[in-house]
Symmetry: C2
Amino acid sequence: MLNDSIRVFAPASISNVGPGFDIMGFALNEPGDEIILRKRKDRKLFIKKITGTSVELPYQPKLNTATAGIINILKEKNLDYGIDVEIHKKMGIGSGLGSSAASAVGGVFAINELLSLKLTHYELLKYSLVGESIASKAIHADNVAPCLYGGFILVRSYDPIDIVRIEYPKNIFCSIVYPGIVIKTSEARKLLSKMVSLKKAVSQAGNAAGLIAGLMKNDMGLIKRSMVDHIAESKRSKLIPYYDEIRKAAFNAGAMNCNITGSGPSMFAFSTSRHEAEKIAAAMSAVVLGFGHECIRYISGINSKGPKILG
Amino acid sequence: MLNDSIRVFAPASISNVGPGFDIMGFALNEPGDEIILRKRKDRKLFIKKITGTSVELPYQPKLNTATAGIINILKEKNLDYGIDVEIHKKMGIGSGLGSSAASAVGGVFAINELLSLKLTHYELLKYSLVGESIASKAIHADNVAPCLYGGFILVRSYDPIDIVRIEYPKNIFCSIVYPGIVIKTSEARKLLSKMVSLKKAVSQAGNAAGLIAGLMKNDMGLIKRSMVDHIAESKRSKLIPYYDEIRKAAFNAGAMNCNITGSGPSMFAFSTSRHEAEKIAAAMSAVVLGFGHECIRYISGINSKGPKILG
């Protein structure tokens, strides 16, 4: 039984997880974008509404992250449908929380469900990356893959793309603060050196391997020790004026780690209970507010399911 | 009940496991060095015999890998014992199979058992590294740790040292060929660039993380796809004149991978049965022999126990 419309939720995600620069990410329970699709009687595709953002997003479907993948699916599968789309952003664009990935996955997931296309996860990933690439220029699957698959994801390789689901402790919680400052991904990427020392590359591989082992072994001590990034964070931290202070506050409140997500400015910390996570988020948030900036905070477990149908 | 003498076996090990350059290693069932200790009536320490090697090894205990750790233990623990030592090398020095690590661990393990010292694994590691450092100048734990702990080991960090035991498929077999050519570790290390590209560093971390996930998930396909090294092997392969041919022969015979162990010249390949492993080793060995070089080959599972008492 097919419906004429669908409303879906697609989760935010944490990427560049400590030593997992460009290769790891995990999905959150909140926040997450909402995408609504309604069938039209003709074969046209329109974006009817975009809410929840002060950043101007394109209404041309080919240029919008949420609809570019949908267009590709309709075209490649020779599907004669017209669709009206609503995009309800529930997280900041450029927050470091995988905002464009959530919209890209949401659109592709929604059309697959609305038309009962039964596309494989791998196909959905491919089409979601079409949307994501509009926002981020280069292909980075470390938000799209966790958003789509749910859980904790290792992107072992980009060419060919190789997505590995990683088991993780069920009692891990994440405290997130999103400070009201703007960092462009492209600017954050320019800060990175094209070369890294052999020593740092070896450390990064050691910590990345350690983090995977810690997650799969349920070894909180090992996770904590492995949450070190030698490649991006030391450079990107300069874009967050109170980076050191947020970290200090998080650790003082009992956090296992405190790192930048994506290219920032949001930062996240792990702990092992909701109560602790709330305490840590409050401490991190207090730093941002103390500097006179706005701050949104989230508490979330790792979302094991990925996107879901809301109605 | 203490004996006056002890004979121990300390295993060879594979290090730089594919993407695990400087951070991963595993112990083999064979070959392995034998170390014999006999108590003396005075407080002196002598190396009485060294067999199994054409390379001249020092008979001064402070300068020998097998005895330097023993000396440190006796001194730091204020132990009034004299010891005669025999070192029976069972693998080539400079083979890439952790020869010096085996002797270093063998000596330290043997004195701990002979005198019932009940040192922790971590202490044994520390003293074994004293011996290993004589042979390799820099501290590298990726042979010593697997030799001592057994199994598959991740050295997450060197400062402080952090040893992580990794679960692995029980049906994994290793084919090893040791060609009769000489590569000095110090020469092999000079070939490495001090800097690597960001792209390679990210790939290396992805494959290192993928290998750990593959081992722990018992996912042979993932192990196979992850056995790629972007840092050392492309450079060091030039020191093995038939590197490409050995790899080709291994893959044609059904191997999951074929990589250099340590700084070479030995190469190893994984497979999932002893029968396959024998076929693969024969194919790899035929290449070396075809080039007119001597070749020793080994077939081994992963040794889960580390060193053991022979008598």
